[in-house]
Subunit: 195 residues, 2 copies
């Protein structure tokens, strides 16, 4: 038995770089050459570590979901209230109207849009992602109801799905060129449904 | 001067077939081979008539916008009220949860999602498309206000942008696998903002 040569690169860092690229460009528009350049890996290292482009993409979607959910859970824990967390998420869309990370949207919903239900493996990853986001929205709404900021008669599950649809639609409008000003006005209407 | 040979095919029909394909698969995932098969054209006919894949796609997006806007204008003219037209548009999302044309979304918003602002020519076509849809929503809302079905204090432009964001987000959720049942419940929340 040989232990083999130790890895000359950090797989987590390579995964992060590949994920950033897929997030910005989408699956189909990202070439193997793009991936090698972004990760700094040789073709053989990339294939040995992550399989092919499809399996690398699967790992990137899971990596995104884990990181994003953790980040949002921390945001919720640190927010002054459940309602404040929800508002903060929508205010975050402003950042997507400008700067280096503009027009990226959400990798899970970008993937839903690109693949729809055409690829069963990807469809399952998208379902896992939307389920995780829905649970987080449900937790925030439940907290906001307990805090007296959302009326208790509201259906938590439906309201969570509605907020996800709204956030996704808003991010797509930003991709179509909608201004920060318009995002703010639309967000006002979206959040009025929490009254 | 020669008049050349007459076309052996209907360019409008070829454009429609190519558009249907791009709508279902997206730009990047559609190959030249797919396009030749869908349109029944030879490579030289396709290039002579439509230019390259990119210019063909541009013509498909314009073709989609023209047809969809005309269809929606007819729907609005035939609807019993502005409010009924808006409801009908959202009910139409049900059809996208099943059947042959399931999970297609809207070609303009799919294109916004796929390209974001990365391609100036496409970005301009997307802006033209969202502007045309926004004007149609504004016309329906203005009519509904005149008919007493939406309070006159509502901001027509903001409400139109909100409805576009909601419809787009809902269609993306459908692409992620959301059921007809959930679509109905979310639509209820969206339309409650018209009260």
């Amino acid at each position: 038995m040989t232990l083999g040569r130790p890895l000359q690169f950090d797989p987590e860092q390579a995964l992060e770089s590949a994920m950033q690229l897929f997030w910005r460009k989408g699956y189909e528009a990202t070439s193997l050459q793009d991936l090698l350049q972004a990760t700094g890996l040789s073709k053989s290292s990339l294939y040995q570590t992550f399989g092919n482009k499809h399996t690398l993409f699967e790992q990137c979607v899971e990596h995104y979901r884990r990181n994003m959910i953790q980040k949002m859970q921390e945001m919720l824990a640190q927010a002054s209230s459940g309602r404040a967390f929800i508002k903060q998420l929508f205010l975050g869309v402003f950042d997507e109207t400008q700067g280096e990370n503009a027009h990226r949207g959400c990798l899970i919903m970008n993937t839903a849009s690109e693949f729809a239900q055409s690829d069963p493996v990807i469809a399952k990853l998208v379902t896992q992602g939307t389920k995780a986001f829905a649970e987080l929205f449900q937790a925030a709404i439940t907290q906001a109801i307990a805090e007296g900021d959302i009326p208790p008669k509201k259906d938590v599950k439906v309201l969570a799905s509605y907020l996800m649809a709204s956030l996704t639609g808003l991010k797509t409008l930003v991709k179509s060129g909608t201004s920060a000003e318009e995002v703010k006005a639309i967000t006002g209407v979206i959040l009025s449904t929490l009254e």
